[in-house]
């Protein structure tokens, strides 16, 4: 059994494709340096896509302006059921954060699922390094159980050597 975390790779952001975001509403608040997308939020870049109920983009207050997007994005918070899909993998959770600098996506919730074909990992926290695509699922801590929580992993025989 792994040490409560298992690794897969596949969820990746490619640096040279445009990012398209769709939603029902977008509110840009200059003073707070945030842009809030609400309602059927759908973010696509190449083959990677993310769906959520709400996405809040936090801009660095470095003089640029949120409305014009001239200031840089610091981090993104994603809420209301997050679904992330790439060519080979899908991941779901209740909420998520994406840190622009470290390019780390974290999905959390009481049931975070990372699946690749028939292989499924279920835990409480998924950490993905979007630059390399390395994904790590951490188990859920049940009550005062010591040590890392358990990760439910189901691997279908014969699929290990597929990627």
């Amino acid at each position: 059994q792994t040490d409560g975390a298992s690794r897969m790779s596949g969820l990746k952001l490619s640096g040279n494709l445009p990012i398209q975001i769709e939603s029902d509403k977008l509110e840009v608040r200059q003073n707070d340096n945030i842009a809030i997308f609400t309602g059927n939020v759908n973010v696509v870049q190449g083959k990677t896509a993310m769906k959520a109920g709400k996405m809040t983009v936090h801009y660095a207050n470095d003089g640029g302006s949120a409305a014009t997007g001239s200031s840089n994005i610091e981090r993104i918070e994603i809420d209301d059921k997050v679904f992330v899909k790439s060519e080979t993998q899908t991941a779901t959770g209740d909420r998520g954060t994406f840190d622009m600098k470290s390019e780390v996506l974290v999905l959390s919730g009481n049931e975070v699922v990372l699946s690749e074909g028939p292989n499924v990992l279920v835990g409480c926290k998924l950490t993905v390094q979007m630059g390399t695509g390395l994904a790590e699922v951490e188990g859920c801590k049940k009550g005062n159980q010591p040590g890392p929580g358990r990760v439910m992993m189901s691997l279908t025989p014969g699929s290990q050597n597929s990627n």
Partner: protein, 235 residues
């Protein structure tokens, strides 16, 4: 979790209960009212005529009788069939937090009987967004309401700001006094490398808050995304 607007129920308060006056004073009250309404009728007629006379007196070359907050100057004016036509008028005004805005037009037409409203053609307005950010608005046609300090632009508009936004609208309602703008027709906003499209938009608090609604589509081009990553010391 969808955000629902909060409806504030407006209650109507009815006031009632007026005592019944004795007969004699009722006649007196009736006479007084009749004389009053006679006076009102006279004034109702007299005042507009007086107003036109004063306006006509002011017509001349430069100064228009306008509230101090808004001043209209124009190259030359003509007065034909109750309409005042100004060439290249220049209007200056102030927003509620005392930021100056100015507007020029190719032509302005003002109905003498309704001084507050000016129809403008070939509009070029500059509006303060905040201390170092101005918005320049160009539009074919619009109606400027001096009393309400609003500008209703009915045709295509281009808005550019000093910090680089280029916004295209099909129509827009600007409330200069409040520093707000709204449109219920498709909008496209561009800035180096990112574009926002939506079918309606509100600008509030002097350009501090932008609310896009109905089919919001945002595109962030790679080079824009790249500079973000470079600036964050990644590449």
């Amino acid at each position: 979790m969808t955000v629902r607007p909060i409806e504030v129920a407006g209650g109507a308060v009815a006031s009632s209960g007026t005592g019944i006056a004795p007969a004699s004073s009722r006649e007196a009250a009736f006479d007084k009212a009749r004389r009053h309404s006679h006076l009102v009728r006279v004034l109702k007629f007299a005042l507009p005529v007086a107003a036109i006379a004063i306006a006509a007196a002011f017509l001349g070359k430069s100064y228009m009788a306008a509230p101090s907050a808004i001043e209209i100057k124009s190259d030359d004016t003509a007065f034909s069939d109750g309409k005042l036509v100004m060439a290249n008028p220049k209007l200056d005004g102030y927003t509620k937090d005392n930021q100056p805005y100015s507007m020029t037009a190719r032509r302005a037409v003002q109905d003498a009987s309704n001084q507050g409203v000016v129809e403008l053609e070939g509009i070029d307005a500059s509006l303060p967004l905040d201390k170092d950010n101005m918005a320049k608005v160009e539009a074919q046609r619009g109606v400027f309401d001096r009393d309400k300090n609003t500008l209703n632009l009915s045709q295509a508009i281009t808005l550019t700001t000093t910090d680089g936004i280029v916004a295209l609208f099909q129509s827009a309602f600007l409330n200069m006094g409040e520093g707000e703008m709204t449109t219920s027709e498709p909008v496209q906003i561009k800035l180096d490398g990112s574009t926002i499209n939506s079918d309606s938009m509100n600008v509030l608090q002097n350009g501090k808050v932008f609310v896009f609604e109905n089919k919001v589509r945002v595109t962030i081009e790679p080079q824009r995304y790249q500079t973000m990553r470079q600036d964050n010391g990644d590449l």
